[in-house]
Each structure stands twice: as C-alpha cells, then as structure tokens.
Symmetry: C2
Subunit: 135 residues, 2 copies
DNA sequence: CTACAACCCGTAGGCACTACAGGAGCAAGA
DNA sequence: TCTTGCTCCTGTAGTGCCTACGGGTTGTAG
C-alpha cells in the first residue's frame, strides 16, 4: 500500500503521515525501487492507534510513550492506566467548562432578538468581566 | 496602569497583551515619556471582552468582527447573534464528542487493573479501529 | 506521445501564543 | 553614589501540530 491509499483508508492526511514519520511516531517504511513508501498492515494498525490516541486528546509525546509501552508487552499496565487517568481528568474539566460556555451562548442568543447592538446581549455578555475561574 | 498590572488584573499574559496589540485586536495604548504603555479602564474592558470571547471559543478573526460590531451600536444584532449560534453549534458538538471520549477512557481505566501491557485495555482500546464519528 | 495523477523532498506558512536576548528606566537600600 | 533588582522595551525565534507549496520524478491511461 502506498501513502495515498493509506491516507484514504486511515483518514489521516498524506502530509500528516509524512510528518509523523519525520517526528518518529511512525517508523520509516520500506521503499519501492522508485523510492515510494510502502506500508504494511502493521503500519496501518499503528497509524490507527496514533489517530485514535490523538482523537482522545493525547499529544504526540504521549502517543510516543504509549507506543513504547505497547512495544514491551511484559511491562506493567500501570503507566498506561495513569496516562489515561490524566487524560480523563482533562476531558472532564473540558466538558464542565464547555457546558458553562454553552449556557452562556444560549442565554446570549435568547436575549438577542433583532435588537440593535446597543441592546444586544451577545456583545454585552462578552463585555462583562469574566467570572473568576480556579486556576 | 502599566502592562504588568493589566496582565495581573486581567489574567492575560503580558506577552499576549503585546501580541494582541501587534495583531490589532487591542489598540495601541498611550505611552509614558519613558516609552512604557499606559492603559485606561476602556482598554481593560476591551481586554476583558477579548479574553472572554477567546474563552468562548471565538478565534481572533471573530473577535475582531465582534469588536467592530461593538463599535457601531446602531448596527443590527443579527450578525453577532449568528456568530454566537455558530459558536454554540461547535460547542455542542465538542461536548458530545468529549462525552464519548470520557466513556471510553473510563472503560479503559476500569478494565485495566494491574495487568501486563499484553492484556492492558488502555493499549488495546487504542489499537481498535476508531469508531466512525459524524463530521 | 502526451496528459495527468501520484509520489518525492525540503521548506515555508498558519494560529495563538510563549520565550528569549539584549537593553533601558526606575525605585530603594547600603 | 552605587548597585541590585524589578519592570518595561523591541525584535526575533521557538512551540505544537499540522498544512501548503514549489519544483522535481515516476507511472499510467488514452
């Protein structure tokens, strides 16, 4: 499989695949005589792993760590679990935060009904001092 | 008020304030004889507006547009409301997406109990093909 | 034979910051 | 008076994670 097809089946942009290779999260693949990259099903799985981890909000450094863990199956799962817990905490707080924002946006829209900007709550709501948030 | 104090009271990083000025979302402030920036309460409010809008997920281009709307209070509210609606849609979908991720992370953690990586659900879950998500 | 797609590499651009280098101004203490 | 240390100045480079582009080669279909 060449890079174009891998991009299609994985949904990962072709240039992003090359970027991952440069960054060392994808191994350098075999090459055809003409220099083109050829990917195995192992590469496809690994790219799927990376994509999925990225979708879950792991950054590339974390992805590298997870891949390293995957490479030594005799190692303990504790570290992977800990990373997932960290990720879960961050997802929880993002959800809570977004739900506050959603309420505010709803209120802004509800209170703005064809008025002029002078009475427009959308602008006004944004002009209010932001609530103090815990760091 | 000088830039350091503005940074403290607004919670916006000092270098970010200068960045906003370069980008034209904050007007160039008055200067003292020694060249230091001095900010008025109008600047403080404007920065609060920007910070709040950024927190709500508006990008700097949208912030500029909102500021322009704010500057002409006789204009219709329709545009501001439409922008808020767009933002609301994106917030809704981000929440939905994160809730799926949260469930998955919870499941991963629950199923990983001191096992070796070979049986680790965290790794395994990431290796599974990603579920098809609506764009 | 020619058009065109798919690939190659290297580099630059984009967003929203963030950091750093190197220098000047200013207030307060020894 | 000198020095320490803080705040500020400018300009530039780096970050994360891609994405785009330019200019070249290879492969394929009509």
């Amino acid at each position: 499989m060449q890079i174009g097809e891998l991009a299609r089946v994985s949904g990962v942009h072709l240039e992003t695949i090359r970027y991952y290779e440069r960054e060392g999260v994808l191994p350098r693949p075999a090459r055809l005589a003409n220099g083109r990259r050829v990917y195995s099903s192992a590469d496809t799985r690994r790219l799927g792993f990376i994509r999925h981890a990225r979708e879950l909000g792991f950054d590339l450094t974390q992805v590298r760590a997870l891949l390293a863990l995957q490479e030594e199956p005799e190692a303990s799962c504790t570290e992977a679990s800990r990373m997932a817990q960290t990720q879960l905490d961050s997802v929880e707080s993002r959800i809570a935060r977004l739900m506050v924002l959603r309420e505010e946006l709803r209120r802004m829209i509800a209170e703005c009904r064809d008025g002029a900007v002078a009475e427009c709550r959308v602008i006004e709501a944004l002009t209010e001092p932001a609530p103090v948030l815990p760091a």
